[in-house]
Amino acid sequence: MNLELFVIIVSVLLFIYLVFMEKQKIKSYIIVLLSVFVFEVCTGGLWINKNMSNWAFLYGDISWILTLGWTAIIMISTLIIEKVIKKSEKLRFFLILFLSSLSGIIGESYVLGVKIREYSPDVTSRLSGINIPFVNVPVEALYYIPVFMILIICTARYWNRMELKI
């Protein structure tokens, strides 16, 4: 329940900030949210989400709380980097990727630690058994999390630029 409340509060505050301070980023927020949701639906077999309130689950074990959480991580990273780096799109991309991946690894460590998430047997059979020091996350997350972030960030930044006219 603590995680659910925390994520909802952060998401509401983030959305309020976007509405009052960065209206043009609301489209980006929605795109990231939808992209994360699509990704979670398509990769549902990789992990098992559990130990959250019943209302936190949307379809199967896909939790909209975790969807909001990942979205918040990516959006906050994007907002920070875009404030600091004004010009180079490539540099912005890689810094957003770095910051969101780092936050993602910390977030993953938390959800694994409180047993909200565990990896499916298909995944655990492929893991090396080596963990990243201090965060207790499999070393393979150094690949999985950045790849997840790359695909979401690219999708969001592409669709954000696209004019939605046919």
């Binding site: 992209s35 699509v38 990704f39 639906v41 398509c42 990769t43 549902g44 077999g45 990789l46 379809y59 199967g60 074990d61 799109e89 490539k90 991309f93 499916s120 047997p121 298909d122 995944v123 059979s125 492929r126 690949y143 999985y144 790849v147 997840f148 790359i150 695909l151 690219c154 999708t155 930044r157 592409y158 669709w159 630029r161 696209m162 004019e163 939605l164 006219k165 046919i166």
Partner: protein, 182 residues
């Protein structure tokens, strides 16, 4: 059959690349290599859920990630992108994206069904268990829709276009970054 698929994909890839080189279509070559990157990122991610079988051992690059299948998907993505960009030059970006995605899905969905039907691809129990609609068909098999017709889970009709949408967005984003006017 596996040799035929391997030869066909390699010939298709070389033909496609050859056409791009002859026409000096640098953008298409860039799309090709970006597609390889996008598809490989996905293939490594989905490696625990999907097993690629029956290909020759030299085609496997990591666990059971088969570069023949990678090239197959890349050819589908690149050919669709180039054809749509050429045919609908003056259309808006959204229209071109949706048309490219439709063209990809028209080829990719039957290709996936083919691969599963002939045993070149199988899905992990974990992935099948996550497919709620597929599971309900299995549990409530009353003969109305023969379950044996379900070569791939019905969810794939939606998830395959969505996944290719993510890969295509990755490719299009990096095309924009590479060709961004300075």
């Amino acid at each position: 059959m596996n040799t035929k698929i391997e030869v066909l994909v390699i010939i298709a890839t070389l033909t496609l690349l050859g056409l791009f080189v002859i026409n000096r279509n640098k953008r298409a070559i860039v799309t090709f290599f970006l597609s390889i990157l996008g598809v490989l990122l996905f293939e490594f991610l989905f490696d625990p859920l999907v097993m690629n079988n029956k290909f020759h051992s030299w085609t496997y690059i990591f666990h059971d990630v088969c570069f023949i299948l990678t090239l197959g998907w890349v050819c589908i993505i690149t050919a669709s992108s180039v054809i749509v960009n050429f045919t609908f030059k003056r259309s808006g970006e959204l229209k071109k994206f949706l048309l490219t995605l439709c063209m990809i899905d028209v080829m990719a969905l039957p290709a996936e069904v083919f691969l599963v039907y002939y045993g070149f691809r199988t899905y992990s129990p974990g992935l099948l268990k996550a497919m709620g609609i597929y599971q309900s068909f299995l549990e409530h098999d009353n003969g109305l829709i023969p379950v044996k017709w379900l070569i791939v889970p019905p969810e794939f009709i939606v998830s395959i276009p969505l996944l290719f949408g993510l890969i295509l967005s990755f490719v299009k984003y990096w095309e924009y970054v590479i060709y961004e006017k300075k």
